[in-house]
Subunit: 149 residues, 10 copies
């Protein structure tokens, strides 16, 4: 009895993707989900509902056991409190610079509470621009109000 | 000769805003800028062009010297590598969970590069939703391609 | 024009409580809220609705301005990533030892998601026991399910 | 002579559970203990009395040596001072936000002392609620009074 | 209404001790407690029962309010995770070098549990020795057994 | 030529001890040393004199090479600046809470200096007590006076 | 199907370079790029355009798959927040000592903005000097102006 | 007798510069030194020779004592191991990404050694470019060879 | 009654030295001690015997109370785990690079033990050298042998 | 083609030394270098000139390839910012306690600059002493003066 881990399945997905020359956009479309969610579930940062796990496994011709692993609740771990990769660091920097501003405006528009990172979705798109194309990131999270009791 | 610091001006703005019962949205409209940028400049996280600095100073009836201070390049400092306030922490968590996904999709859509956090803008809005209203954050940054030489 | 800060109001509350020989339980009862929430709002870890802020201000004979400060959204800050006070450290230790267990059982009972720390309440009580009385802590938070999109 | 480690036994338990389609609740019932304690002992965060270790080993058809390993005093280790998984982080956040409140109320109800994390137990349950079901966590620990000598 | 803080009282005690040429041993004897406990309570690391707080206040001729402050439950804080003072570092080093040994021997002599740091006392004495006098530290803490439930 | 490491020898000792059903107290007695020192040397936190290394090797029927390894000066390493295991953490907490007190009393009894952690010994014993048995830890280290030159 | 990783390709390049007695300058010339960029791409800190990846692979007689790996966007990771190697530490020290100066002079010459580390290039050369030859590092990055919106 | 500190002198210089509408380039020219060195000495990151200290004091009409303070060897301190200001962070990022490359090329051109950060100088200039002007940083440090003895 | 602190006395010494144009070497000679010890005691890193404290106080014309403060056992604190000042960092670097070597050679020459940092002295001198004068640091500490018991 | 790493060569040297019963002093003498430098080069903290690398390889009968590896510029890495081994920690403590003193005396004797840790050498010796033999460490590094430009 050998166990397949999350890391095994992530590696299988990356290899299958590279060998078949697929894109995340294409894989996402094949399983009927968004590219952001599809990639994060493939990386082990989200659990897949069973139909999506099976659709992904079939699309990439992975072993059947992989579909079970993809449905498990992963433990989300990142090891760099401050990320070093420049592409990810810029996002961290935005949180440092604009975090208090986002907080102030949420409070102004909603009251005392937060934007949920659980009941949450995100889209990434390319916006053409004559001065240089732009990356657009749209986040949407449910407003959660603090409880008083 | 007494010097007015960034912190002094931020405190004056917050007091004037509270006493006059203003909102960030209202202040931003008065100076013809977005609420996100207006708040971050008021907090000392962005420098103001001279016309905006004077408009803000006039709108809030601050001393003239404040307009000069608002135009200086601030040193952007945050002291918590991992923010503790729940509203800001959720943003940090999103970077931890979805950072590698954003990176992968930028690379897929643009090539090897990043989204700029300097040539950058952001909007925050409230989206009505029968299951609970949602916070929408839209970020847009210029794509910067790595150089090879 | 002098500004009253959160720290000022917390200090005023502590002084008034000590001088009048009050208890948190008594103060909470006077404003019709729970002791846990009342103490945390007094410490600047929760914002007060206006009626509760005014009730507290009246009960403790604080200046009127304090009621406004108590209604603002505080920035929640703790400076020790690992708390040193033994009473608080034991709670941290419980998260370290039992955190993965709580996660596993939430997943077993609910699916992939978390217990909210925002839509959340807590009670603390004393349970008599012949082998030594026990502290009982009851936490209740809304289950939030991860989104797939 | 090969040695079986704690990690080996934890892996065996997880595999046997997955293959037999068991739940922690079911396993706990089979050995006559609570689900919280059973899971934490299986993870190597608590030592098992010999009868419970043998009951678990028999129930999951593990090798006999596993029962010995489960009885040893484990060294409790967690490697993230601030946990990243959102489900566990929310518990950490609760300690940060409400730790001083819990301390103040323990002192008010008992005197100068702490809630033990050793002579301690915990239950987790699902509470139905029309606005969304809630996670309930009940902790109970012996009050320990500081010594003066 | 001015408030006296823990830090104020600690400073008063140190000044009174220096000016009267007292020793910790002498102060401890005067209030009928041990030198270790007396010093730690004076430093704000332990709360004093009311009779001892009053005895100390009387012995050092401190203002009456100090006796109240000394009875409050202090929040125990140390700011250096690894202490730099050589005298204290050596104790830290002993925990690093001998911690696993102490744990193993407690398990051998008592079973799975710990030595309490709450129901705890300590003595420090000087032991004459022809090769150089020795510091003797004796710690005694109640054995607490882990709970299974 | 294969090399035997400190870690190999520690593992051999633990296995031999478990298989033979020995105790640290028994092993220590067999080689004529204290249990604390014997355990710490077995863990690689102290070097053994050759006669003790050979006595231990003979007593546990380890290969001859092990006796050489046990005589080497180990590099003492601990990887957690703040230990997480509750049994060891309590010792760390004692250093945090009582460290300044121990320092003050050493200075009062001896002058400006420290207790050596090198010319040092320790005993651990069980003290019966009707309110619950107690762990007793006795440390003795040579007083070292600071040099002035 | 075996996967070749970035680390594998870096190791192959280092081995081929050592065995053929090549220099970075020579390799860079062979592929028509600068030594700084060539070394950093070989180390996995930059992605190679396909023609350069193939030129490098051919020059060093690496397997064909290596050319594909060299074109992927690497995740840039460094694990020492403060580097220990003296040669790299001196660069870190220059950032600590002169960072605020570089910032002030960029602001004086350009306005509020930064030097890009993405649209960036660097040369390293040896400058003869009778008092001892000098290392010359020339960095050039596009000036990016902060956005106001 | 009041003492003037480094911080006092830095503040005086900044105020005098702002009030007289000077630039670093202009101040540097007035004392016959480079702008980089002049700014860093003004910030307390370098000591000034007496003639330069007096020239600066005279040029800015500072009190005579300032010239003495500017000649003292400052203790160079930066408090952020990883700088947060984006302009300075990009320099830190360059060290992280290109540090090993700079080391490798120094070794290739010089042998085993480093570039001195003490016998060191730097220039910053603006380079016009139709695609956007560029910041140019030129560093020059004496090569120091490791000693063998 | 005002209290003079260690920091007060250090500041007085520095001011008196600067105003009288003294050197550490001169001050040390005046009190009959070495410059290293004299400076470190003045900085609050060593306690002074009463005759030396009085000699220093007299030599610098400090108030009488200063002599008492200089005799107290200071708590030795440094706040940078890794020092940033280049002159001190180089010493830290030497410990990182040569620490294991010093340990190995102490073990080879003495056996299992350490060099004391308490029964310790140090001299610093200038050695003329045609290739550039050299700093010579001589440390001498008592060898302390690990205890076996 | 298999590659021999620095770690491989270090392990070979340690094994050969142990098996042949050699000392660092003896090995150093055999290759005509000092024990400190010889040990540090063997540990991978210094590169060897070719003649010394070959002498060492011949003396210890290591494979020829080892001589090449010993000549490469190593990346100097230590992973504990604060070392835990007591013998090395004492050196770290000396830097913490006496670092500012060494800096002050270098400035007094030489001017504004540092002692080089690159153009540097060290000797360790045993000094007999009736009160207990002493470890003597002599460091010598070239004085480097800060540049003004």
């Amino acid at each position: 009895m050998t166990d397949m881990t999350r890391e095994d399945v992530t590696a299988m997905i990356l290899t299958a993707k590279r060998q078949a020359g697929l894109t995340w956009e294409g894989i996402a479309e094949a399983i009927g989900m968004s590219p952001v969610w599809t990639h994060s579930a493939a990386m082990g940062m989200n659990a897949m509902p069973s139909d999506k796990a099976e659709a992904l496994t079939a699309h990439l011709a992975l072993p059947q056991e992989a579909a079970l692993v993809l449905q498990e609740s992963p433990t989300k771990v990142w090891t760099q409190a401050v990320p070093t990769d420049p592409c990810i660091y810029r996002l961290y920097e935005i949180v440092g610079v604009y975090g208090p501003t986002i907080k102030a405006l949420i409070h102004e528009k909603f009251g005392d509470g937060i934007m949920s990172a659980i009941d949450f979705d995100m889209q990434i798109s390319r916006v053409e621009n004559p001065k240089g194309d732009r990356v657009k990131i749209e986040m949407s999270g449910k407003y959660l109000s603090y409880n008083a009791w």
